[in-house]
């Protein structure tokens, strides 16, 4: 399953268990749980390295439930289908490489170089630019002018494709103008928060197995966990992991009441800390395991590769620290970078 980046059976089982209805509002048949309360769920997904479009399948029905396509999104995930989002916001620093999509009266044109699960998707949500601001559109896989080219994936949790639009009919946008700006801002913020939680879960698991390993592995006649240099590494891993976990839970709880710049800073800070911390903890875990951790026989490499992938998705610490600086200093009137920036929704307060 990890070689393939997902499993259709697993997704159907998860759907049957109701995972994707948790954050869907009750009016459209969900359980209506606040997204912030799903933080422990995403921590657990990280701990167990669950692959697949879980982020998309949880977020999109929850955030777009009250749009015209809400019921379609919910129905798709509830039968085990796949949602994908073509969003140039997955990266700020690489925005020129990621690309963008424009919406004109001739439909969608342009391309997004990296879209998770686009080739498996039953529905594709597109964040497009139009002369009057961002628009969010929904496209079906067979649409005219839509080209999906699957790419090799080095992320055990994901499949990737390049998606190109050539005057692809966009239908009625789900959101336009200020509402779209606000929705896209929330989408990106929650993607960052839930990815941060997944990274926290990965760090927790790697700390646990490393703590076990250093108490079993013996060298020079005693367990390596009795050497101070190893103990101090584990102590640092523990402090980092527990602070990351605390930050994720606090940020997710706070985010529920936040909008605009405040929400964006909360999410970016959690994702930045997660990106940096999960990589450090993974690399310490690898070092503590010695040679065995470097082999494909041990589970560690899957976690490490997933951590490296997730840390870049929606920004690593270097990208996000810069974005936070912009948000703090340039304030509500800040002009974000052309694509993928943390946008300030119209009318939001800081």
């Amino acid at each position: 399953m990890l070689e393939r980046g997902w499993s259709a059976d697993l997704l159907r089982d998860a759907a049957a268990q109701g995972w994707f209805s948790l954050a869907v509002p009750e009016e459209v048949g969900g359980l209506g749980i606040a997204l912030g309360e799903l933080a422990p769920v995403f921590v657990a997904l990280g701990e167990h390295l669950v692959p697949g479009p879980l982020l998309e399948n949880v977020l999109l029905p929850a955030l777009f439930a009250d749009t015209a396509v809400g019921e379609r999104l919910v129905a798709t995930v509830e039968r085990g289908g796949v949602l994908a989002m073509a969003d140039p916001g997955i990266s700020c620093a690489w925005s020129a490489e990621v690309g963008r999509v424009r919406l004109t009266d001739r439909g969608l044109s342009g391309s997004i170089g990296l879209v998770r699960f686009a080739a498996q998707a039953d529905l594709l949500l597109v964040v497009a630019d139009a002369p009057d601001g961002p628009h969010v559109c929904l496209v079906e896989p067979g649409a005219a002018g839509l080209f999906v080219e699957e790419l090799d994936s080095a992320d055990p949790g994901s499949r990737f494709a390049r998606v190109t639009f050539d005057e692809c009919p966009a239908g009625q946008p789900l959101a336009a103008g200020a509402a779209a700006t606000e929705l896209v801002g929330r989408l990106r913020a929650w993607a960052r928060l839930l990815l941060a939680c997944e990274l926290a879960g990965i760090a927790r698991h790697l700390l646990t197995i490393t703590l076990d390993y250093v108490q079993q592995r013996k060298q020079f006649g005693r367990v390596i966990g009795s050497y101070q240099v190893v103990q101090h590494t584990l102590a640092t891993m523990h402090a980092s992991t527990s602070s990351l976990h605390n930050l994720c839970l606090s940020a997710a709880a706070d985010a529920g009441d936040q909008v605009g710049r405040e929400l964006e800073v909360t999410a970016a800070a959690a994702k930045a800390y997660a990106s940096e911390t999960a990589r450090q903890v993974s690399e310490d875990a690898l070092q503590m395991h010695g040679g065995i951790g470097f082999t494909a026989e041990h589970e560690l490499h899957w976690y490490y590769k997933r951590a490296l992938a997730a840390r870049t998705w929606y920004g690593d610490e270097r990208e996000l620290e810069l974005e936070i600086g912009r948000l703090l200093i340039l304030g509500p009137d800040a002009v974000p970078p052309q694509n993928g920036g943390l946008r300030q929704p119209a009318g939001a307060t800081s």
Binding site: V214, G225, S226, H238, S250, E317, E323, I329, G331
Partner: protein, 383 residues
């Protein structure tokens, strides 16, 4: 019990109306002004917020204390001067002290009438605190103390000292230590302030030459001072972390305000990405510490635990990250204290940065915290 939001409103209202003291640079004058300030805070009910009412406190919670500390810092009001008494030594006297000690010493500690210092470290007993050699020999109803302490913050200003001394040479090192409360005016005590790299004279060497301390000043049982010392250090790690977090947040807010003003100037040079990313980095670090200390507050009432070492270790790193970032904004102007690059006061940020380097040394070094975490929390075997 008053809810936190109402409490915060009350604190703000009081602080708005309060006469803020002007803090002089001269150390002795500064202490005189700040003792008065602590008295003012005490009279208004803002000292010992989480202490029990029987001990002269307000009988509220650690959350209320945190709210007050936050508002005090945001109002740019000085902290009470007796923090070592309030946050470090006092809670141990309250927990382990005799009726007489609690009744006579704690009210004066709270009101700022008595400033406390902490006589723990010695020239040969730093991280290995239990190897301390200052002697306390019991003669009748008096301990006779001789030896030397070092890194004793504010000893030159202190009225009282919580002192660890060896009362039994023959016992294993952790079992021969007594916890004494010493009046700093007792004959035989000599204090020599040390100038620190910040230019401050906060900590001192303290020499004890046959100092006579009444046996009534012993906290707990004779030779049984070590667990009390651990309690003191644990309190320091937990409560102090909260205060330093608030200080660092205010520092970052101040820097952000300066830079925002700069960015808003019509002829302002655009801030480079480097400066923005530096502020972002400091913000991320502080968010992590903030989330961590919210958990701290939840468990503080249960007393010190090895978890405090996690907080202290994180605080050390984060405090140094934050002030390191802020000092980096000065670039080459850090060498000229009167400069104001980007609107930032060079002298303040250099001072804060240098002071932050002490964070990973005082209250148990980061290495000692890692020992505690790995052995007492994670259960790894002693080497």
């Amino acid at each position: 019990m008053i809810d936190l939001d109402t409490y915060r409103t009350n604190v703000r209202a009081w602080l708005r109306a309060a006469d803020m003291p002007v803090v002089p640079r001269d150390l002795d004058k500064r202490f005189a002004v700040l003792r008065e300030w602590q008295r003012t805070l005490f009279d208004a009910g803002w000292i010992g917020i989480a202490w029990s009412t029987e001990s002269g406190g307000q009988g509220l919670t650690a959350q209320h204390q945190l709210v007050f500390s936050e508002e005090l810092a945001r109002a740019q009001a000085p902290q009470p001067i007796g923090l070592i008494g309030l946050d470090v030594v006092g809670p141990s006297i309250d927990e382990y002290g005799s009726e007489w000690q609690r009744r006579t010493l704690l009210p004066r500690l709270l009101s700022g009438e008595d400033i406390w210092c902490q006589g723990f470290s010695e020239p040969e007993a730093g991280s290995d605190l239990a190897s301390l050699r200052t002697r306390a020999r019991l003669e009748g109803d008096t301990f006779v103390v001789s030896g030397q302490k070092v890194w004793t913050s504010w000893a030159a200003q202190a009225d009282w000292c919580a002192l660890l001394a060896r009362s039994d040479d023959g016992a294993p090192k952790h079992q021969g230590i007594s916890y004494l409360l010493v009046d700093m005016k007792t004959p035989g005590i000599t204090v020599r302030p040390l100038v620190q790299m910040t230019g401050d004279r906060e900590f001192c060497e303290v020499f004890f030459d046959n100092v006579r301390v009444p046996a009534d000043n012993l906290v707990g049982e004779i030779h049984a001072g070590w667990p009390i010392a651990i309690h003191t250090l644990g309190t320091e790690r937990g409560v102090y972390t909260l205060r330093r977090r608030v200080d660092a947040e205010v520092a970052l807010d101040d820097a952000v305000a300066e830079l925002r003003q700069r960015a808003a100037l019509p002829d302002g040079v655009p801030l480079s990405e480097r400066f923005l990313a530096t502020l972002g980095k400091a913000t991320v670090a502080l968010r992590a510490l903030d989330a961590q200390t919210r958990r701290t507050v939840d468990r503080l009432s249960a007393g010190p635990t090895p978890e405090d070492s996690v907080d202290k270790l994180l605080l050390n790193g984060i405090e140094q990250t934050v002030y390191g970032c802020l000092a980096d904004l000065l670039g080459p102007f850090r060498s000229t204290p009167t400069s104001r690059p980007l609107g930032l006061e060079a002298e303040r940020w250099v001072h804060e940065h240098l002071y932050s380097r002490a964070a990973s040394i005082y209250g148990g070094t980061s290495q000692i915290q890692r020992n505690i975490i790995s052995q007492r929390l994670l259960g790894l075997p002693r080497g």
